[in-house]
């Protein structure tokens, strides 16, 4: 019989436990946190190898890479949480290039005292989102900071995708005459977050639209190919910011029609109450596409055939305008410009 005692491996007390500084110290507690929470939730061979990096097969085509930080508050909201959001958001950034997202990495900054149960729930939700999207999380990192130095948990994800040679979408490709399409209703995510923060009720619960859009974008690339010029997910700053950015980068203007932009009635009601304009409110599962005018119908059909694009619709056109204005015919019948948002104090929504 050996005299060396093997220490009993205590399970992490996920139900009542809290993250403490030892979980970030590089010792056994940290290894256990990573294994029991993250490997368990993300479950794949890259992670199980426990290396400091993941080796990925070289891909044919152009590599597309992105990174994004998530600091949303509250961490859990109707229709999602910071975990699923951090997967969807990064996948979408790659998908908007017309690329196929392949791998993700995730880095966590966790505040001392954060409930392990919440961390587990967030990790599970990330794992579920990544499996559903078929984009594995192959590398990760965890840091614990002292109480008060973070707000619960911040997540940063990076992603790699592959773009077939020959395809090139970019914000400087919009041309006068091009059609402007959106995949569905505007403002759902931001309003879901804000109504949760303000404890507002509007009859029906407003759900975030957080979703991975690479299936939809693949169908769009398949249908329109080269005629597709720009894709954008209108996140922070909403549709207004996305249109203004493209107007500048392509040196064009836009003429859109407010009446054609779908906004859910409960979202419109909440915006009215909060003094917001849905065109400036963030979306996390919608996209805007600009395509050659002759491809608009084919593209719309392809979008509507996909579950995440059922409400896809044309909202206007690209016009020549050296001032790069986004002009809109209001629902009321007058005209105005849709400018960048300036200076409003909006809470952290992504």
């Amino acid at each position: 019989m050996s005299l060396v005692m093997k220490p009993v491996r205590r399970k992490l007390d996920v139900r009542n436990g809290r993250v403490d500084l030892s979980h970030g110290s590089g010792g056994r507690a940290m290894a256990q946190l990573i294994a029991d929470i993250f490997h368990d939730a993300f479950g794949n061979d890259w992670l199980r190898r426990n290396d400091d990096q993941a080796s990925l097969d070289a891909q044919d085509g152009c590599l597309v890479m992105t990174t994004d930080g998530y600091v949303v508050s509250p961490l859990f909201f109707p229709g999602g949480d910071i975990g699923s959001l951090s997967v969807h958001g990064t996948i979408n950034d790659i998908a908007m290039a017309g690329a196929t997202p392949k791998y993700l990495s995730a880095s966590f900054i966790i505040e001392e005292g954060f409930a392990l149960a919440d961390l587990k729930r967030i990790a599970q939700s990330m794992g579920d989102a990544s499996r559903a999207a078929d984009v594995p999380i192959v590398a990760g990192d965890t840091k614990i900071v002292e109480r008060g130095k973070a707000d619960g948990v911040f997540i940063s994800t990076a992603g790699v995708g592959v773009l077939p040679h020959g395809l090139s979408l970019s914000s400087d490709k919009a041309r006068p005459g091009d059609a402007v399409l959106i995949s569905g209703s505007m403002g759902d995510h931001g309003v879901a977050i804000m109504s949760r923060r303000e404890n507002l009720e509007f009859g029906v619960e407003i759900m975030s639209d957080s979703a991975a859009l690479h299936g939809l974008t693949a169908a769009m690339v398949g249908a329109a190919g080269d005629a597709l010029r720009v894709m954008r997910d209108p996140t922070r700053g909403g549709l207004a910011a996305a249109l203004n950015e493209i107007a500048h980068q392509s040196n064009v203007g836009f003429m859109i029609d407010e009446e054609l932009i779908p906004v859910k009635p409960q979202v419109a009601a909440a915006c009215e109450f909060l003094g917001l304009d849905p065109l400036y409110v963030a979306n996390e599962g919608k996209l805007m596409a600009i395509c050659a005018p002759e491809a608009a119908d084919v593209l719309l059909d392809a979008m509507r055939a996909h579950p995440l694009g059922r409400e896809a619709t044309l909202i206007g056109h690209v016009v020549e305008d050296e001032r790069n204005f986004v002009e809109m015919t209001t629902r009321f019948g007058g005209g105005r410009i849709v400018d960048w948002l300036s200076g409003e104090q909006l809470p952290r929504i992504c």
């Binding site: 009321f332 005209g335 105005r336 410009i337 300036s342």
Partner: protein
């Protein structure tokens, strides 16, 4: 949403627009001032100007509380906030208003001052209760709409014997400002033909205080709701009065405004506040009896007394035309800085800060018209 949608119905709007077009006398120009920033915002945001005939001009008035606060008072607020004992509570809109020497509250906060953004006086009161070791000062601004809530908060503070709450009062009076504008009119050609009267202010003070506009200045007033259709209907009512040679105070906003207003709110105001001998307005200058301060019975809650505030008048940026714009004498595009040096990101004057300010509203919603108008004017000349 039904309640709101019916006041933004494009079909109804077209009907009113057609009536205005049919009834205006093409041989004359109608110059109407919308007094309130709320109206300015609605007109710009919904594109109401596009639905009016060319000879109906809307002139933006001074009814934007952020815009009319003079530089000296912002300087005072910054001085108050830099007292280490003080927590200054303010509306977010005021944070970026330019003060003297390029300062503003936002920069003061970044420099360490304890400045917090609140939605109402009651939020400030709550902070005072929760943090008894802080001297909580509420930076009160606004017309008669926001005055009763301030009065209420002061009375509550008194009832609770709060020792660490005070109000830096900048409440101003609508009818006095209206009179100052009318009294200042010198040029027949740019004189106003009528006024679109305040919505929310009038729910408090009623329709009666505007009667002098009709009786002494012979100009019609139509009190108007804040929805775009309200504004269009009010414009139609003004056109009709003028065409019929009448001038009266009419009330389009019947769903909220009565002749005498809200007696209880008026009582609260009278109890807590008293008239200042004079007060400086950005644009209108020093106007006698145009603002309120705390009455003696509530002097302990007056931040000016508690901290010995002595306002020093300070000059606006000399290139900024806010003053003339607030008097209705100029348009935002008459300012050399508009859209170049002065934008919502880099405001040089107060009218570019609040979304109710004329410059901000025109910048955010109306700029696309500038070129076409310039072209039209060139074609006409």
């Amino acid at each position: 949403m039904k309640y709101v949608d019916e006041y933004r119905d494009p079909k109804l709007a077209k009907g009113v627009a057609a009536a205005i077009a049919a009834e205006v006398d093409s041989g004359r120009i109608y110059r109407f001032m919308e007094f309130c920033g709320g109206h300015t915002h609605a007109i710009s945001r919904y594109g109401v100007e596009d639905m009016l005939p060319n000879n109906v001009a809307m002139i933006h008035g001074p009814g934007c509380p952020v815009c009319v606060l003079p530089v000296g008072r912002i300087d005072d607020a910054i001085r108050l906030a830099s007292d280490p004992r003080v927590t200054l509570c303010t509306y977010a809109d005021l944070m970026r208003v330019p003060a003297s020497r390029g300062a503003n509250l936002l920069k003061a906060r970044a420099g360490g001052a304890d400045i917090r953004m609140v939605y109402s006086t009651l939020d400030a009161l709550r902070i005072a209760e929760a943090e008894p070791e802080r001297e909580v000062v509420f930076l009160a601004i606004g017309f008669e709409t926001t005055t009763p809530p301030t009065a209420l908060a002061i009375k509550q503070a008194k009832a609770k014997a709060l020792r660490n709450f005070s109000v830096f009062c900048n409440h101003v009076l609508t009818p006095v400002a209206m009179r100052a504008i009318l009294a200042g009119e010198s040029d027949e050609a740019t004189a106003l033909d009528g006024i679109v009267g305040p919505a929310h202010v009038s729910t408090v003070i009623g329709a009666r205080p505007y009667e002098f506009v009709a009786n002494e200045y012979g100009k019609p007033v139509v009190i108007s709701g804040f929805e775009p259709l309200d504004v269009m209907q009010s414009i139609l009512m003004l056109v009709r009065q003028i065409n019929e040679g009448r001038c009266a105070v009419e009330n389009q906003y019947l769903r909220a405004v009565t002749h005498d207003g809200n007696a209880r709110a008026q009582r609260e105001m009278d109890e807590v506040f008293e008239l200042r001998e004079s007060f400086e307005w950005r644009g209108l200058g020093v106007v006698p009896h145009s603002a309120l301060r705390l009455a003696d019975a509530f002097a302990e809650f007056d931040a000016e007394k508690r901290f010995g505030v002595h306002t020093v008048a300070a000059a606006d940026n000399p290139a900024c035309e806010c003053g003339a714009i607030l008097r209705g004498a100029k348009k935002p595009t008459d300012c050399r800085l508009f859209g170049s040096l002065c934008t919502p990101e880099t405001p040089m004057g107060s009218c570019m800060v609040s979304s109710e300010g004329s410059c901000a509203a025109h910048y955010a919603y109306g700029r696309f018209r500038d070129r076409s108008r310039a072209r039209m004017e060139r074609a006409a000349s």
